[in-house]
């Protein structure tokens, strides 16, 4: 870019601080709008297209006189206009005011919807079974990109800020949505513009699913457009833990989307539903959520549909049709959801007493102030927590096991959050954490897998020799070994990155490093709380055992019941567990013995056939019958390894 031709102008959103945008001398207002969108990539760019935006120029006025202001037409030459208004040069005070339509749907603008549809029509085949869920991502990403850049179709020019002009586009939009949802969206009245249309809302809302992640800093928009503004603040102010929901419903009509709000209200359970994989901005049809099942670690927003539905169109009941491919756990969760009846809230409260599950959180923050605030919050949420001041300490602590959630600052001394995350993920991989299928089967495959993955990642240098034996005594074989036998690593830990950056690229980097989610600093407490709830609920389901124990404990504390009795019960439980573990070990020994015998027999030519011991593990009765399948899996795994 020729430097000479560039120039910077001040712009600001109403009531917010001004910022410089670089434009070229010959840029039209229309071009400037695009530059502004780039600058406000997150707060505006995700929601609006350039044509949506209007710029106001405010004439300098003498004291006491009314200020004249005027809307700039897209075809005006920016620099010339500015120069004529502000002969002495534009100062911060003269910043152009950015207006965006009020009460817009938050993110996936309807157009993006269409865009995406266009580009990837083929991907949008409706599902045979007519469920409401869309096929996985492909279309999404292009959509969201398109949305911000807006350059890829001529509509940019056509579509000025008047909703009504958009009318011609309606048919497409409609038809696409039929494709996607199987239902016709209400016909917009001809001149009415879809923007303000309430009826559309559900549709858009569902789309928001996507990225709890990105989302997070939706609050950031300094926007002062009353409509838009409603967004961020809402819950934030009064973080009284139980109430955000209510507020949200009333105060933040639609914009919440961006936020994790989308899925929050559903309650804990919903949180468990795995979600759209690319945590990125999903565009429109992100309903994909439900397909992404194969990717449990990136859960999150899946629930939105249910609850968006709920909020927006109570009359209709979207079925949570479980996917065939769904993992057991997911089934379980969904069942739970549907079974427990539609108002999700009650479900939550019945399951969790409306509170955050007693998970164990590791807070990684190098700044003591932030750390203390996070601690305060954890205290308030009544979850257990520990802290680490840098990535290295975090990894060390995590190795001790038992954490469900890590709040990970990204920029830290010694070892930053990304490195720490990578390290944790590596260790999880090496130790086969989260490999449920393997865990629940015979132990041997697990070992096998471990060995393999170890060989993969470590170049096979470690622990080869020792692994051959029984499942005993092989923790500490190498530095990478974790004491997974204690059942302290039931699933991969959820890592929520805390980043001060609002840059999209940083977020992607965080996700690429293995973070599941992220929040932008300064952390909005309501969101944080929500994240903790969501992820916590999911983890609690996975670590059902630990949860139950803790819940008992909490219940005891709450009810003020006879301590002793409870203690006894707990003790008993513990004993029982130990017993079971012993039993399991015994069985394993027996199995080993059997195996030996068989081998001997075979050696003796008695051809007793299979040395397959795969069935042995089934006997480990640790699992209390009443427990849900998901848990059972974890249990057996733990027991048979123990």
């Amino acid at each position: 870019m020729a430097h000479m031709l560039n120039r910077k102008i001040w712009v600001r959103r109403p009531g917010a601080s001004a910022t410089l945008v670089q434009i070229r001398e010959d840029d039209l207002v229309d071009d400037v709008r695009e530059m502004i969108l780039k600058k406000y990539a997150n707060s505006l760019g995700r929601t609006f297209d350039a044509p949506d935006m209007t710029l106001r120029i405010v004439q300098r006025a003498e004291q006491g006189q009314p200020r004249h202001e005027r809307q700039l037409g897209p075809e005006e030459e920016m620099c010339r206009t500015i120069d004529s208004y502000y002969p002495g040069g534009q100062t911060v005070e003269d910043a152009l005011v950015i207006d965006v339509p009020q009460r817009r749907t938050p993110r996936p603008s309807p157009r993006a919807y269409q865009q995406a549809g266009y580009q990837a029509l083929d991907d949008y085949r409706p599902l045979e079974n007519g469920t409401d869920y869309f096929p996985p991502m492909p279309a999404v990403v292009p959509g969201s990109i398109a949305q911000t850049s807006n350059s890829n179709d001529g509509r940019a020019g056509v579509q000025q800020h008047h909703p009504s002009t958009a009318a011609p586009l309606e048919p497409h939009q409609r038809s696409i949505s039929v494709l996607n949802t199987g239902q016709l969206p209400p016909l917009p009245s001809p001149g009415g513009g879809r923007r303000g249309h309430r009826d559309h809302r559900p549709k858009y809302q569902r789309q928001h699913t996507s990225s709890p992640t990105i989302v997070t800093h939706a609050s950031a928009p300094p926007g002062h457009n009353p409509g838009v503004v409603a967004i961020g603040v809402p819950g934030s102010a009064n973080s009284s833990s139980m109430h955000p929901l209510v507020h949200r419903q009333t105060t933040r009509p639609r914009n919440d989307s961006l936020a994790s709000d989308g899925h929050h209200p559903t309650n804990g359970l919903s949180a468990a539903v795995p979600a759209a994989q690319p945590p990125t901005p999903p565009a429109p049809d992100t309903l994909t959520a439900h397909q992404a099942v194969s990717n449990p670690p990136t859960p999150s927003s899946g629930s939105t549909p249910v609850n968006a539905q709920h909020r927006a169109r109570p009359r209709k009941n979207r079925k949570t049709t479980p996917e065939k491919s769904a993992s057991g756990s997911r089934h379980r969760r969904e069942d739970n959801q549907t079974a427990n009846g539609v108002p999700p809230m009650p479900t939550a409260s019945s399951m969790l007493d409306g509170s955050v599950p007693p998970i164990n959180v590791l807070i990684v923050e190098d700044n003591i102030i932030n750390l203390r605030i996070l601690e305060g919050l954890m205290k308030r949420l009544k979850v257990r927590w520990q802290t680490a001041m840098n990535g290295q300490i975090a990894v060390d602590k995590w190795r001790g096991g038992g954490y469900h959630l890590v709040l990970m600052d990204i920029q830290m001394p010694v070892m930053n959050g990304l490195q720490a995350t990578k390290e944790i993920r590596r260790l999880e991989r090496v130790n086969g954490i989260g490999v449920f299928s393997a865990d629940s089967a015979t132990p041997s495959p697990v070992e096998e897998r471990k060995r393999n993955s170890e060989a993969d990642t470590n170049g096979g240098s470690t622990s080869e020799p020792t692994v051959n034996g029984d499942a005993k005594g092989k923790d500490k074989v190498s530095d990478d070994k974790l004491a997974i036998n204690d059942g302290l690593f039931k699933s991969p830990v959820i890592i929520v990155a805390l980043t001060a950056s609002s840059l999209q690229s940083d977020r992607h980097e965080a996700l690429a490093a293995g973070c599941n989610d992220f929040l932008t600093k300064p952390v909005n407490f309501v969101w944080l709380e929500r994240k903790v709830k969501e992820w916590g609920c999911m983890q609690a389901l996975i670590d059902f055992d630990g949860w139950r124990r803790w819940k008992d404990y909490a219940a005891k504390a709450e009810a003020g019941k006879s301590e002793e009795q409870k203690m006894k019960e707990e003790e008993q439980e513990r004993k029982e567990k130990v017993k079971m573990e012993k039993l399991a070990k015994l069985q394993e020994k027996q199995r080993a013995k059997q195996q030996k015998e068989e081998e001997e027999k075979r050696k003796k030519g008695m051809s007793l056939g299979s040395s397959d011991v795969g069935t042995a593990a089934t006997g480990n009765g640790t699992v209390q019958g009443a427990e849900p399948p998901v848990v059972a899996i974890g249990h057996v795994g733990a027991a048979s390894e123990g």
């Binding site: 959103r13 009531g15 917010a16 601080s17 910022t19 410089l20 406000y40 707060s43 800093h217 609050s219 950031a220 928009p221 300094p222 926007g223 002062h224 503004v229 409603a230 961020g232 603040v233 809402p234 934030s236 102010a237 009064n238 973080s239 009284s240 507020h247 105060t251 190098d366 700044n367 003591i368 102030i369 932030n370 203390r372 605030i373 305060g376 919050l377 308030r380 600052d409 920029q411 001394p413 001060a500 950056s501 609002s502 932008t520 600093k521 300064p522 952390v523 909005n524 407490f525 309501v526």
Partner: protein, 155 residues
């Protein structure tokens, strides 16, 4: 990052009009959520201790900044900027935060928005110096307001 200051919404939300007005140097929303963590609205033990810790932290960080300015250690300046940015952002001290962010960029040999490279180290240092001074002033300002809020006249 745009500063989320949407005061009118906040108020409509829960009528927390009782909260102090700090003007634009403190982000209401952010600061209020910390105030809300206080168990006792009179004592304000929690938030007070945090805010006062921040004072200490800021003072010592400024000292370190000065020292590194002397040493012309841009990288350190940048990371100190980042450090203080973190906590000031958490408390909603918008202005201080913005200055710290600038410092972070200047220290990283960039322009104030962090978008353009600044080849001239001397200029970066000068920028840092100015920004640190600015941050200090802004900090003093906000410190006073906060001390007033916590009814502490000794400052």
């Amino acid at each position: 990052m745009p500063g989320p200051t949407q005061t009118q919404d906040v108020r409509s939300e829960d009528g927390s009009a009782g909260f102090p007005e700090f003007g634009d140097s403190i982000d209401q929303t952010t600061f209020e959520q910390i105030l809300e963590m206080d168990d006792d609205e009179e004592e304000r033990e929690f938030s007070k201790s945090i805010v006062y810790d921040f004072f200490t932290q800021a003072e010592s960080t400024f000292q370190k900044m000065d020292a590194n300015l002397e040493k012309k250690d841009l990288a350190q300046l940048s990371s100190l900027g980042h450090f203080l940015k973190g906590s000031s952002a958490t408390l909603g001290l918008t202005k201080v935060k913005d200055s710290c962010e600038k410092l972070q960029h200047f220290g990283a040999r960039k322009d104030e928005t962090g978008t353009k490279e600044e080849p001239d180290d001397e200029k970066s240092l000068r920028n840092c110096k100015v920004t640190i001074e600015q941050a200090k002033t802004e900090f003093k300002e906000v410190e006073q307001a906060l001390r007033r809020f916590y009814r502490d006249d000794s400052s």
